[in-house]
Structure formats: C-alpha cells, structure tokens
Amino acid sequence: MSLLQVEELHVWFDLARGRELHAVQGVSFALDRGERLGLVGESGSGKTTAILALMGLLPPTASVAGRVLLDGEDVLVRGERTVAPHRWKDVAMVFQGAMNAFNPVKRIGAQLVEPMEQHGVAEGSRAEARAAELLERVGISRTRLRNYPHEFSGGMRQRAAIAMALACEPKLVLADEPTTALDVMVQAQILELLVSLTKDFGLALILVTHDLPVVAQTCTAAAVMYAGEIVETGPTDVLYHEPRHPYTRLLFAATPDLESRDVVVSIPGTPPRLDEAAAGCPFRPRCDSAVARCSLERPLLQRVGDRHEAACHMAAQVPA
C-alpha cells in the first residue's frame, strides 16, 4: 500500500457572480516512502493548490472533490475534522519564502518546540532537546536556538523551516518552491539536505517547483502539471529522454542548460483560463503537434511505458 495515494483530486475556487475557477482538475498520483516526487508546473498550473489540498489548507472559498489516502485512510472525507489530526504529524509542509513561516517575535527554539507540544509529540526539556537535535541535523549549531528569525540568513531560515517541518516526525514532507528565492549555492545545500533527510528518515518528499533542472537532479520521479491537471508523469530521466507529452518536451526545450548549445525556444501563447470549461486538450492552442482530434476530445492519462503516463492523443506514437 502506498504511503500517499491521491485519486481524482479536484479543487474549485468561488469567483464573483457565481462563477468558479477549476484550479485542480482530477489529479491522481501515488507516492511511497523514500520516494521523491517533483511536481512541476508554471504559474497557474495548480501545483501549489494541489499540495495545499493534501493538507486541507484551503480557504472557505474552496470546494474539493476526490480522495487523499494517507496509509490507506481517506483524510479529506470529513473535511477539516479528518485532515487536521494528520497535519504536521504525518504530513508537514515547507513553504515558499521561509521568511514568512516564522513569527518574528519568537525565538527559533520556541517555534520548533511549539508544534511538538501542540501535537503531543514531546514537551518541556525533551522537546527542547529534540529541537536542538533537529537544528543540528539541518546544519545549524544548537547555540542558535535562542536567536530570532531576523538574525538568520535566508538559507538558514529555510533550513530552520525544514527542521520545523520535521518536528513531529512526519512521513511525508511537502516542499513548495523551497529554493526559489535562494542563491544557487544555498539552493544546492538545501536540496542536498532534503535528499539526505529522505534517505535517513525514510521520508517521502513532494517538491513543487517550476525549475525543471532542480527536479531532474533531486527527484526520482516527476509529474508535470498544466492547466490544473497532470499531463505527464514518470521517472525523471525518462521524462527528459523520452517525453511523450509535447508540453514536457517543449518545457525542457525552453530551459537553458549549462552544457548544451541547443537553441532555447519559448512556448508561444498563454495557458487557458480555468474559469471556463474548455473542449479538447487544454494545451492544444500552444501545441506544435496537434491534430484535429485534439480540439474535440480531452486526452486522459494513459500508460505509455513502465511507470510512465502521458495525457496526449499522440503519446502512443514514438516521437520523431
């Protein structure tokens, strides 16, 4: 049984005048312990909304459908009541811009202890000892427990945020653009830390990012999201060497690479509006290999290889 199984996850947001934004459109995937999944997409693809939904961190304007099975248990079935007990203890999150994750007037140590006490994992001196261990595990000296967040650099704050996420020994960590605002050297440090933590603690990791190379180097598998749905998923090297969805292929082609002299090309056009139902494949207007069927029929995710799925009518064909 997978650690995490997401089935047909949908998220809608209420808009003015009775309209809705269909931000996540039937996302399904599974994750086992020790696996690192990269959830890749550009702005508006729904990747952040999808993982917020996994923890039930959605506003009152949101409505959700689908199942999120954590160790077989459906955590969304009764909304807040069933998902709250799992927060931080089973699923923890590292947000984008850890600057905002910390209370500026409380010491780091106190903020690490807080989730432990709140969720009944440890308290008092035991909690403090654990906080010191966690901080050291993420590469910060335990003498800095008494510092305030503003006394930490950006990279250190992000590491402290990771320590905070690990406070209650979760099974799954969701990291939303954890290195986007950081320098490339600090990014390398953080990514190395995340990988070693998944190996040492048997954690599962979902890394949400728009940065394909980061996923290529850090994650074992990836799911590419476009317009609210997963358009391709599979092992990262298969996705690079044998992409079956044009968006995946074009996205790689649009990313400059240090060692490649390939011409880097934009993808023309813009993503579709998610507040209007559209016919056919959502990528069709921007696709370079669309056929007539693509305007009429929406493609479903289908198996195209070993653990490799793509939602494209042309996916069965071997790419030229």
Binding site: M185, H210, Q217, Y240, H241, L250, R261
Partner: protein, 338 residues
Amino acid sequence: MTGGNGASPGPLLQVEDLVVRYPVRRGIAETAARRPKQHVHAVSGISFGVSRGEMVALVGESGCGKTTTAQAVLRLVRPEAGTVRFDGIDVTALGSRELRRLRRRMQIIYQDPYESLDPRFRVEATVAEALVVHREGTREERHRRVVGALELAGLSPPELYLDRYPHELSGGQRQRVAIAASLALGPDLLVADEPVSMLDVSVRAGILTLLDDLRDRGLGVLMITHDLSTAARFADRICVMYLGRIVEEGPAVQVVEDPRHPYTKALLSVVPRRDPRRRVQPQILRGETPNPIAVPPGCRFHPRCPVAVDACRTVDPELRAPSGAAAGHRAACLLAER
C-alpha cells in the same frame, strides 16, 4: 535602431576600478563610543567593458555587487572611486543636464514586469513616455516610433497592444512593453537586471532571444543575472562576481568549460542540469557569502575556498590571464594556473 553617432573607437561602456560603498548608519551608542565607521563594500574595484553588439553577463550570488554595479553604470548611485566611460565620456563627472542627455542612450530593463509599468498608463503612453520627457517629435512621429518599438519588441501587430492596460497583459508581454519603452529613444546600451527571473520558464526564452536579436542589431547589452545557465547560453562574455570583485571573466564558453577560479568551479558544479543522467559531482561550499561589511583579508574567497593555501590569507590576487587560457580569459586566483 543603433543610436546616434557612428561607431567611436573603443568599447561602448568602459568601467575602471569602480568602487561603491555605503556607510552603515550608526546608533547613538556607537557614535558616542567613537567606534570606527563601518561601510558596506558593495563594489570594491572592478573593471570591465561592453562593446557594441556584445552581451556581457555579470553573474553572481546575492551580495556580490552586480546590481550595485548596474546602478553605478547608470549613475543611479554615486561611486566612491573609479570611472564609468560611456562612448568615451566620463559619466561620473557629468552634471545633471548632460546626464539627462546621456541617459537617452543607456536604458535599463527591470526585473519585475508586474511592477515596472505604471498601471494607469496604457501601453502607448508607457512606450512614448521617454519621447515625451525628452520632447522628441510631434504626436504623429511619436506614434510611429512607438509602433516601431513595439514591433521590434515582438509585440505584433502593435495596434492590438497600444490601448491595453498592463493588467490586461501577461508577464512576458509586459516585459516586452518595458523593452519597447527602452527602445523608443534608440539607445546604444541596454542594462537588463534579471530580465526573466520573474517570468514563467516557457516565456523566458522569447525575451532572451529578443535581447539576443537586439544585440545582433548592434546594441550593447549588460545583463545582470544569477542564472549561470542563461548566461552561458546567451552572453558573449561572463564576469563572475564575488563580494564586490570580479573573480573571473572571459568568453562565456571558456568560463563555463574551462573555469579557473575555485568559486567559478564550485558555482558551475552546483547548477542543476536538465538531463537527470548528467550527474556532476557538486562542490557545495559551506556557509554563505559573508557580509560585505566585514570583508575577509587577503583573497576574499579564502574562508570558503576548497583549495586555499596559506598565501591566500594574506595576498589579494589580481585578475590575470592564466597559462593555457583563451584570449580575454582572466581569473583572480593564485592557483589559477593549475
């Protein structure tokens, strides 16, 4: 759309020994205790040039001084020492009127396309603003030049965009409008400060290719970026900055394929590659860039350098061409020869 006079000899932009530092504001207690004044040493003596038809990338992490350098080039900050010569004219010594005239030939493109356009101005007004400010041309002429600039920036057909407000455009389109606004006066030099870092990946290449085209048309482009992959692919020359100094510079291909400074080597090793099978052994440096207030003695990089020797603690190396390196490739490291 190359500007003004014919090509004068020498590079379009020549920066020499530029020094920029800011005093750190002291509280009353420190002033009373007469502690020595501290400075943020943003830029500590750098020299480089940009020629017409050349794209130079200033690459580095936060705190290295690349943005401050760009600001000094445009005279948006006052340098403490050093000269900035634009087409032979010393920018640092100009009065405000001459500066205004010179500003027409150097334009800046900002990082944030969502903030760099006035939300109340339609596209035509934004692009025409430079012309209006400098009182160029009649209404019809300005309209023509706006249309021309929009075409050059890839917003075609321009008529579709003239009446739009920024919030009706995507990020990529907004950045193109900002570029068109810079092109309206026909500048010779474009300073692009992280021009694509806030755009979606699928849109970035278009903007970078546009800058590439402009460079082919004879503009000089100074690109500030932290993204080595972009610099490697698009720039002609790369200058790697660390803590206010250029530690390595040279033709882009050379710097990326044959780095001679340990910092450059480490930086290149941690840049993620697209291909998951390309596993480069990352040289992850410990700690973070030190505060530009307290610059280490000797070589600035020595506390974090994986191959530092004793001499590095006392000697501040100069940029020199190491043996076997290509023309124009220099590194500031005592051990660069190996």
